[in-house]
């Protein structure tokens, strides 16, 4: 498993030269500023009054700082419901994805049966098939199953993604076969090996999968857009979008809503950024 640790590969580098190092840092700082600027602008705008958002010249420090935007948005928009729906969905999808994904991954990496490789190929093949190309037949199918316009549709849509199987399979294959062999000799069943040996050893991969799936479900816009029609089951992304079109001149409020929709993910990312990086470096995919 290729773990990205910047600069772990060379034990001793030739002196870079102070100039080179300074230049590198300058380039990095400029790049980082460019990447972060939209977020900085989002946060400062959310703390301004509405007519301070667009001023010439730009006002970089809000004066006075208006926290009230973050209170007003809860009354003007149904943020509570949207956040609750999104949270419920994200947790349910993540739970199912981790459970069935790791279970199937064990089957693909540790058991041998005819047809196994063909099945796995079907999973791999879907990487090249964009969801956008089969969203219509899927919608027809979901409508026939009476899933559309329920939260279940999003659970079904996201929970069985091939991604979880890839990530877990990749990780399982890095665990020495001897361990499960020893357990087998001691009389543990395959299910026991999965549950008592493989899962406990795969905590890093499970953490990656959990975080990536959660983020992905939280941020998903297209699935909810197609399947969730009634406002009471909207997710935060749909809600925010409708809020934007409804109050399209309330820039400061819109920014406050945006901050609130990004904040949980930002916190999760700060806490677990190592797992995000490893999950992606392992599979080369996102959820």
């Amino acid at each position: 498993m290729a773990v990205v640790t910047a600069g772990a590969r060379v034990t001793r580098r030739r002196p870079w030269g102070v100039a080179g190092r300074v230049l590198g840092y300058c380039a990095l700082i400029v790049a980082a500023a460019a990447v972060l600027l939209p977020f900085v602008w989002m946060v400062i705008s959310s703390l301004k009054s509405n007519n301070q958002v667009f001023t010439i010249p730009l006002q970089w420090i809000p004066n006075p700082v208006r926290w009230s935007n973050f209170i007003d948005i809860w009354t003007k928009a149904d943020m509570g419901t949207w956040l609750k729906n999104t949270l419920v969905l994200s947790v349910a999808v993540t739970f199912l994805q981790v459970l069935t994904g790791s279970f199937a991954a064990y089957g693909f990496s540790r058991t041998r049966f005819p047809g196994r490789d063909v099945l796995f190929l079907a999973y791999v093949g879907t990487i090249a098939v964009p969801w956008q190309s089969y969203m219509i037949p899927q919608f027809i199918l979901f409508s026939k199953l009476h899933l559309s316009n329920t939260l279940w549709s999003i659970v079904a849509l996201q929970a069985f993604a091939a991604f979880g199987v890839f990530l877990m399979k990749q990780y399982f294959e890095s665990i020495p076969e001897e361990l499960s062999e020893a357990a087998r000799i001691d009389g543990l069943s395959e299910y026991g090996i999965y549950w008592r040996i493989m899962l406990p050893l795969s905590v890093p991969a499970i953490a990656s999968l959990t975080l990536l799936t959660f983020t992905n479900t939280w941020n998903d816009y297209l699935g909810p857009l197609i399947y969730l029609r009634s406002p009471e089951i909207w997710t935060i992304q749909l809600g925010l979008r409708s809020f934007i079109s409804q109050y399209n001149a309330e820039y400061a409020l819109i920014m406050a809503g945006s901050v609130l929709s990004v904040l949980p993910i930002a916190l999760i990312f700060m806490l677990g950024q190592r797992h995000f990086v490893q999950g992606i470096a392992t599979t080369g995919l996102k959820g």
Partner: protein
């Protein structure tokens, strides 16, 4: 719920397999009994996920081809009309616009993102303080929601008061572009945001690839007097080939299916200047209930992605030799 699904999948699998096993085991060696048992165990592991995956992904892909030969709306039933949807598509001006715009997006977005993410990865692949911080920063846009990103960028791009045009004025640009309000500049605006959002992700892939470049090769090249550019051309790039290939494939598929970013940033406009294939499928299907025609467009998107991927695989294979 999940455990119930597994249990039911286990039950669904077991009735068919054990009789077959018992029947055969009388004539065969114990080895084949073990094999049948392994098969059963293997299937029970794979099935819970595979049933969901098959019903929700594989079946729709198959239905897609059928629907594309029919007229169908939500309430009616499908009526077979042969290739009428496809002939209509070939003559459809809006489809041509959508296709061209998608190719435009891909043709600029792919090389730009490749260059940016590789440059970032090379910058970050050093033993300097603070690299983890910069890596986190570069990756951050990728995990934030597209709706929030789009609305922020739309404000930044605002032609009159937006910070970007204010900056352009400050450095002396007279006719600053109208960005998302102008038919010529809306696509570049979308591409900039797309690249900004995704480069951190591909950077991670490149960083992972760079870890596999043997340091000895660099040392040897340096001994031979190769300068930084020559080392990059002749050592780093060849070693990175598998990564570059994978990144290109993923980027290509990602570019051809671009949708949500455009939907929330410009909604295809102004006019049809940023209308892309995915969005056209969405419009025809969910906007106008023309499921049959929308599916024909979807088949074209499907085929483009598959063919481009196969082509890239072939090119890569030939270069391997």
């Amino acid at each position: 719920m999940a455990t119930a699904a597994i249990a039911s999948a286990g039950r669904a699998a077991s009735p068919s397999s054990p009789p077959a096993r018992r029947g055969r085991s009388t004539k065969r060696r114990p080895g084949s009994r073990l094999k049948a048992r392994n098969t059963l165990v293997g299937w029970t592991f794979v099935l819970p996920n595979f049933i969901g995956f098959a019903v929700l992904t594989l079946v729709p892909v198959l239905i897609l081809f059928y629907v594309s030969f029919t007229t169908w709306n939500v309430f009616g039933t499908a009526k077979w009309i042969g290739i009428a949807n496809y002939t209509r598509m070939l003559a459809d001006r809006s489809y041509h616009v959508a296709l061209l715009n998608t190719v435009y997006y891909a043709a600029v977005h792919i090389p730009l993102t490749l260059a940016c993410s590789l440059a970032l990865a090379l910058l970050l692949n050093r033993r300097l303080r603070g690299m983890a911080f910069f890596r986190t920063v570069a990756f951050f846009p990728y995990i934030t929601s597209i709706v929030a990103i789009a609305v922020v960028w739309n404000m930044l791009f605002s032609p009159q008061y937006g910070p970007i045009n204010q900056f352009l004025h400050a450095i002396g640009v007279q006719n600053a572009p109208g960005w998302t309000t102008s038919a010529t500049w809306s696509m570049p605006a979308v591409i900039i945001v797309g690249t900004w959002r995704e480069m951190g992700y591909y950077m991670l892939l490149f960083l992972a690839g760079l870890q596999t470049v043997p340091a000895e090769l660099h040392e040897a090249a340096r001994m031979d007097g190769a300068n930084a550019w020559q080392r990059f051309r002749n050592v780093t790039m060849p070693c990175l080939r598998p990564t570059t290939f994978f990144v290109t494939v993923m980027l290509t598929i990602g570019s051809f299916k671009v949708f949500d970013l455009i939907l929330v940033m410009t909604n295809g406009g102004p006019g049809q200047s940023t209308l892309v294939l995915s969005q056209y499928i969405y419009q025809k299907g969910f906007g106008e209930n023309q499921f049959g025609y929308a599916s024909a467009v979807a088949v074209s998107l499907f085929l483009i992605c598959i063919l481009v991927t196969i082509y890239q695989f072939l090119v890569n294979k030939r270069r391997d030799r």
